[in-house]
Symmetry: C2
Subunit: 194 residues, 2 copies
């Protein structure tokens, strides 16, 4: 009793889809920066000039939206890893990259609790975007190990977790010097003693 069985799939996705997605990311970046990562999603939607339903269609979970917002920034970090590995001695490259990671957290510290949510949740930033930060830190650590002066018996990502722990735990404070010193402490701990 069907009038028509055919269903011809669209050739390309509709234009408004991509446009709204972009708007939502921009709005989220702004709103999260202003009110923290726990900001109302309804607010993000209205800031973007779209309905709440549209937001949820594009980003089913808050995490997904946050990841999209940070994608660009993490891309920058990934690029930096490549650059450092090409230009620096391996251990120094790792050290500098970890310091960049500290800066990354610092820049976005407005949403420190956002990061916390991300990191703490079941879909953590660092495992949600494994191709991203994970592969970078792993490559850096590999390089350092190959020098023979370096050892590590934890997951490379745990380095980031430790740093994030030092940083995120105190949203308002000046945690940054502490985080920097933690980087050095970690490096020292991984250096093979002579």
């Amino acid at each position: 009793m069907q009038k028509k069985v055919s269903s011809q799939p669209r050739a390309r996705p509709r234009a408004d889809k991509e446009r709204n997605r972009a708007r939502l990311i921009a709005a989220a970046k702004q709103v999260f920066a202003a009110r923290g990562a726990a900001a109302s999603l309804e607010q993000v939607a209205s800031e973007a000039g779209v309905g709440i339903g549209t937001l949820y269609r594009h980003f089913p979970k808050r995490d997904v939206l946050l990841e999209a917002v940070y994608r660009q920034e993490t891309d920058t970090l990934v690029d930096a890893a490549d650059r450092l590995m090409a230009q620096q001695e391996p251990v120094e490259a790792l050290r500098e990259w970890l310091l960049l990671f500290v800066d990354f957290i610092d820049t976005k510290r407005d949403m420190a609790d956002a990061l916390n949510t991300l990191i703490g949740g079941p879909e953590p930033l660092y495992s949600g975007t494994p191709s991203h930060l994970a592969s970078s830190i792993e490559a850096l650590v590999d390089g350092a190990i190959k020098t023979g002066t370096f050892r590590i018996d934890i997951e490379p990502l745990d380095l980031l977790r430790a740093i994030a722990g030092v940083a995120n735990i105190r949203p308002g404070q000046n945690w940054k010097p502490s985080a920097i010193r933690m980087v050095d402490l970690l490096i020292r701990g991984m250096q093979i003693e002579r």
Copy 2:
């Protein structure tokens, strides 16, 4: 136009107050363990057999309740610090205590996200109960430094933060081995190289 100006303050607080407080803590311990630290406070109240108003009167913020729930456990850690310092060589005492801290997180991992909330918030566990864990870890670190084989240029509490970072970030996983290795890594990093 007052009928009576006198106001005679009670000699001792009412009995029901303390009783309800105890009930609330017990209920919270149970509910948090079962449903995670984000569990509804209304649920805690009803489990305790008191009204929601009573809960809020006793514990104005979720943090305060969480802290009360953990008070006993952290007390245990504080005691352990004293014991270890008396019985062990300083650096070893620090190491063992950090491992106990890992266990502490592990035991309560049901509420891992609770810890996260606590730690991430503006009223963090470790600064909310400074007399507790803070003074313990500081004393341990002091002892280690006095041996002359040890140095540290970060806040002692940052050690806990790093460990918590490694642990809390992955609620469901088997993070414990990683955390243990992180303890050793940190210790190595603080050991003065020869």
